[in-house]
Amino acid sequence: MKLKKSTINNIISYGIVIVTFIICQMMISSGSMTRSLKGQMVPICVYIVMAVSLNLVVGISGELSLGHAGFMSVGAFSGIIGAAWLRSVLGVENEILRLVLSMIIGGAFAAIFGVLIGIPVLRLRGDYLAIVTLAFGEIIRNVLNCLYFSLDGNHLRISFNNPNIPGTILVNGPNGAKDVDKIATFPVGFVLILFTLFMVLNLINSRSGRAIMATRDNRIAAEAMGINVTKYKMMAFVTAAALAGMAGALYGLNFSTVAASKFKFDTSILVLVFVVLGGIGNIWGSIIAAALLTVLPELLRAFADYRMLVYAIVLILVMLATNNPFIRSLFDRLIHRRKPATQRGGASE
């Protein structure tokens, strides 16, 4: 009974995403979408995937991560390098194939980083864990600023702090990647959203997902029930890292130049804002919040210079409103019209 319900919910979710995609595509082809908004379509997909994957860590696994952009940058740079390598060494000409393969490369590298970072990070708790993820995000950015990659014939060359390497430079230290293969497209971004939803929703509704949520709700009880807490925290962390890496690769391949400074702490925070505003643990909320807030600065163009100020005020007001007990109970009454469970023998209280 319950199984069917979750499956139906998932199918509805995919349906809504597909319909939204079709509407967007129609708007694009009929020319009713502004140029700047059209340019935002791939970043919107990227931020949706980022938000959903971060929600897996923050909402489902219950650990605050402040370094999610780090995985995005790993994915972006490995994806950019991968795309160049695929084209010139393996001769993959088909753009969509190259994009998809690059995204897989980006996801794989981010997953490796997820494992390496997860091992120390997940030993910590609460705010300490948060600050260490922040630290790792900054370290990744710092190190990327010192790395130079070039493609010399069939060889990929890496150097540290030394810009003089033979071959065509792909990544140029603090200046980042230039002349990037701009192969990212909105339809592929949309497929990535579907894939992310598929991964995350199915994971949540499986044995592993329940174990992840159990470790979130009560670590000690989960251990007493024989659940290997570290394993499941790691599973959520690495899955999220891989998805962020794929999103990063898509993002990187959408611009002609990409520098590591694009993946600052602020970007991690931005994604976290999507997650919290959309509702912690609420996948749908993340999608809507990511899409709206990526477009919001665009919509706030009328405010010109006051744009970011308005954004900040909106953010604070929304947080105050959603946490106001009165407004909360009002919402609860509106949304949760389902009555509480029938209780038997309720003499206990």
Partner: protein, 294 residues
Amino acid sequence: MVSFLRFFINGISLGSVYAIIALGYTMVYGIAKMLNFAHGDVIMVGAYIAFCAMQYLGLPPIVAVLCAMVVCTLLGIVIEGLAYRPLRQATKLAVLITAIGVSYLLQNTALLIWSSNPKVFPSVFNVGAIRLFDGNLVISSETILTIVANIVIMIALTLFTGKTKMGKAMRAVSEDKGAAELMGINVNRTISVTFAIGSALAAIAGVLLCSSYPTLQPTTGSMPGIKAFTAAVFGGIGSIPGAMIGGLLLGIIEILGKAYISTELGDALVFAVLIIVLLFKPAGLLGKPMREKV
């Protein structure tokens, strides 16, 4: 050797600034159990106020610092009252995001008022320097002032939390908010005072930071803010001597790392040390390990 000494002293000076900022973080965390991400931006506001007082009003540096402290204190109380107090029952994350919102708000307000063009902070306290080793080692008056200010603040705060009634109330609230309230302590007022003290310290830190590193921009406070927060965690968040030690160590590591290992990787090094320390001491250097009662 002389150059090492120079770097070391610069490290202590930078570390002192971090320590003063970290004190604000750690006190607020200890009492309100929240990461006040806007704290770094209060530093920036403090520096701008002092800058304006000196540049446009022609006030003497000491008065300018006092002005900055007053404005930041008020700012801290207002932020706490308007943005954080309504969220006292909310989840930690909600408060964190609100703090981030406040941080954006301060940065963008500063951007509108003072524009993004960097201001050159006047060298306020330049009253000569100490020259040692035939002039090879120059210790500027800013450096000395920063270190002295740090020591004075540290002693004053320790006395304040240890001896005064308000200080004891702060410790009680940080231990157990509910119990403190039952004992007749005005929790809201105590938290306000904590924010006020933290923000006043931020103003001092802002002026000190900008007199050593004189470019002032709306984003000036964010990176030192993050590093000071790291310092607070490093020393054990919630602990006042911890913030002091964490700040100093972080400053020294950063300057020495930049000097001897790699200029680009200085920040990475700071964070790497933090991670290593936390792995061996999960509650920081002086933090008390929390054991969950089963």
